[in-house]
């Protein structure tokens, strides 16, 4: 390592300063101000008196808000676990087979990423057509192959609504973790793979003992981004099920619940910045604690240089 001189310090400071200033000014300060809203009562949309933790009490234990909060949180956790398996599992597998550079891999690599580029508005609307109980291709396909009883209103019933939206989300975003894994796998030196192959390692062994440990940094990135993304999940359920978490809260997640509480739903709910900000603070705490703990744990798993 370098000597700890002034030049080095200035160099590091110069590297960090622009990012620090921008993030502080336009992310941290506004968010901190928004957090303060949580400690006030609100006269309509105007801030009124300091009321301490009352909004937190309402959001956690007041009824029906508490039930809504924990219902949403539970759904967020379901979203995270499912995306880890469905989206990131598939992504890992695809990255691994793309790495083999079989004929046509460039095509597949582009194909898997195209959905990522599309706007959520379009992806959500299009999959709503596919899942439409009346003329949707999914149900028509099931009926065509004789599985009438499997045909159902995917987005209309509590048992299947969230799962359907998770699937669509995985479809939309799978290309991104795939790319991350692919980039991670590319970092692995050929010698290491060669050596393993010469030792007679098959695909499974190679994956388990060589690739998996060596893509640990990429895995850290994927896990943390998926966790934060799942906890802040908003766009896909908003486009596909609406701001209210239709049906009856089955697709409600903290992001929707927060947005609905802060800005109302034009056709049903009112705006309450106090409760909304309390929710936001709680969301932040959950995400921050878990991510910090996790980043450290996952980074320990990464190989030392």
């Amino acid at each position: 390592m370098l000597q700890n001189d002034l030049g080095r310090k200035l160099w590091i400071a110069a590297l960090l300063a622009p990012a620090l200033v921008i993030v502080l000014l336009f992310v941290i300060v506004p968010i901190a101000s928004a957090f303060l809203y949580a400690f006030y009562s609100w006269r309509g949309l105007a801030r009124a008196d300091f009321i301490g933790l009352e909004n937190f009490r309402l959001v956690l234990f007041g009824e029906p808000f508490g039930t809504w909060t924990f219902n949403a949180l539970r759904n967020n956790l379901i979203v995270f676990t499912s995306l880890m398996v469905v989206q990131n599992g598939t992504a890992f597998l695809i990255a691994f087979v793309l790495l083999k550079s079989l004929p046509g891999h460039r095509f597949h690599q582009v194909a898997i990423f195209l959905p990522v580029i599309l706007s959520s508005v379009i992806v959500g609307a299009m999959w709503k057509l596919f899942l439409n109980p009346f003329f949707g291709l999914v149900n028509q396909g099931l009926i065509a192959v004789g599985l009438q009883s499997w045909a159902q209103p995917w987005l209309g019933q509590p048992q299947t609504a969230l799962g359907s939206i998770i699937f669509v989300n995985a479809w939309h975003w799978v290309g991104f973790p795939a790319l991350l894994f692919l980039a991670g796998m590319q970092r692995i030196s050929k010698d290491v793979i060669d050596a393993a192959r010469l030792d007679g390692a098959g695909d499974m062994a190679l994956m388990r003992h060589v690739i998996w440990p060596l893509v640990a940094p990429a895995t850290t990135v994927v896990v943390i981004l998926t966790f934060i993304g799942s906890m802040n999940w908003f766009e896909m359920p908003f486009v596909m099920a609406g701001i209210d978490g239709t049906p009856a809260g089955a697709t409600d997640v903290l992001g929707l619940y927060f947005y609905r509480t802060a800005f109302g739903s034009a056709t049903g709910g009112l705006q309450d910045f106090g409760r909304a900000s309390a929710l936001a603070v709680l969301m932040f705490l959950v995400i921050a604690i878990v991510s910090v703990f996790w980043t450290r744990a996952l980074r320990r798993r990464e190989l030392p240089e």
Binding site: K9, W11, I12, A14, L15, L16, P18, A19, L20, I22, V23, F26, V27, I28, P30, I31, A34, T90, I94, V97, L98, L99, K100, S101, L102, H105, Q109, A111, P115, V116, I117, L118, S119, L129, N132, G136, W171, G175, L179, A183, Q186, R187, I188, S189, K190, D191, D194, R197, P217, A218, V221, M231, N232, F273, A280, M283, F284, I287, S291, T295
Partner: protein, 285 residues
């Protein structure tokens, strides 16, 4: 046929059955990915009624009537240009500023490293939508409401945490030997960063760039709240005029948003070379 490691040199041969199975899996996956996109493109030629009566068949005609509607009712070229200005400026700033910060965090040990890393990470944990009111007030006081610069700064601030997170993760994995030997040869810190380390970080920069470019390109929330001057509107924001209270013109939106995805698609196709070719050039040792 044989499995090849990145430079095409066969190492261990996969049996033909296995290769076919892998190919079948990839082809199935690509169909699953592409078929809905084909439907989206076809829907761009349909009216809303047609989308709902025959969602999965060919459109009655391939006349670009939805595009004509967009052309007549919005300032499409202007919006497109604005989107390009905002996205390119934001992503460039994110990558430049973010790479510098990530480099510092990944390659140097110093007091507060972990703390600054967590500071950036915390910017990732709450959606900025949440703070739209304080943000709006702050931008108003800076005179940046209803300006492109305001949008660019917001997007940059929003994108930096994830970019720094991704880039730090990757820069950390680069071996220290290269750097050390360059230092022994007397290269300056700036030179080591610029000519040795950053070229190796290209795939990660592409990932961080795309990770930010796509949401920024597609976002209509921030422009909707922050920009009211028609001349300054972005493309997704401009297209929201087709979302009515009781009826959304889906055909028009499908056409417009698919068209809007084209520039990013082209950029990605160009950049996707970074990956597989990055294998041979980027792999260390």
């Amino acid at each position: 046929m044989s499995a090849a490691i990145p430079d095409g040199r066969p190492v261990a041969a996969d049996g033909p059955i296995k290769v076919w199975m892998i190919q079948a899996f990839l082809i199935f996956n690509s169909i699953l990915m592409l078929y809905p996109i084909v439907i989206v493109v076809l829907s761009g030629f349909k009216s809303t009624a047609e989308i709902y009566s025959t969602p999965f068949s060919l459109p009655a005609s391939f006349e670009p009537k939805n595009l004509v509607t967009i052309w007549e009712q919005t300032r499409f070229p202007r919006y497109l240009l604005n989107s390009l200005i905002v996205t390119v400026s934001s992503v460039t700033t994110i990558l430049v500023v973010g790479t510098l910060a990530a480099y510092a965090l990944a390659r140097y040990r110093f007091r507060g490293n972990e703390l600054i890393y967590l500071f950036f990470l915390s910017g990732l944990m709450v959606p900025l939508k949440l703070a739209i009111i304080p943000l709006f007030i702050q931008l108003t006081s800076l005179g940046l409401i209803d300006t492109q610069l305001g949008l660019i700064l917001v997007y940059t601030a929003m994108g930096l945490p994830s970019a720094i997170f991704i880039l730090t993760g990757f820069l950390r994995t680069l071996p220290f030997e290269l750097e050390e030997s360059a230092r022994i040869d007397g290269a300056s810190e700036g030179r080591i960063m610029w000519s040795i380390m950053l070229p190796l970080a290209r795939p990660a920069m592409v990932i961080a760039g795309i990770h930010n470019a796509v949401p920024i390109w597609n976002d209509f929330f921030f422009p909707l709240v922050m920009v009211q001057t028609d001349r300054l509107k972005t493309l997704p924001q401009g297209l929201t005029i087709f979302m009515g209270e009781y009826n959304t013109e889906w055909g028009v939106l499908f056409a417009g948003l698919t068209l809007a995805a084209l520039p990013i698609t082209i950029v990605y196709m160009a950049l996707s070379r970074q990956f597989i070719s990055g294998l041979t050039h980027g792999a260390v040792k």
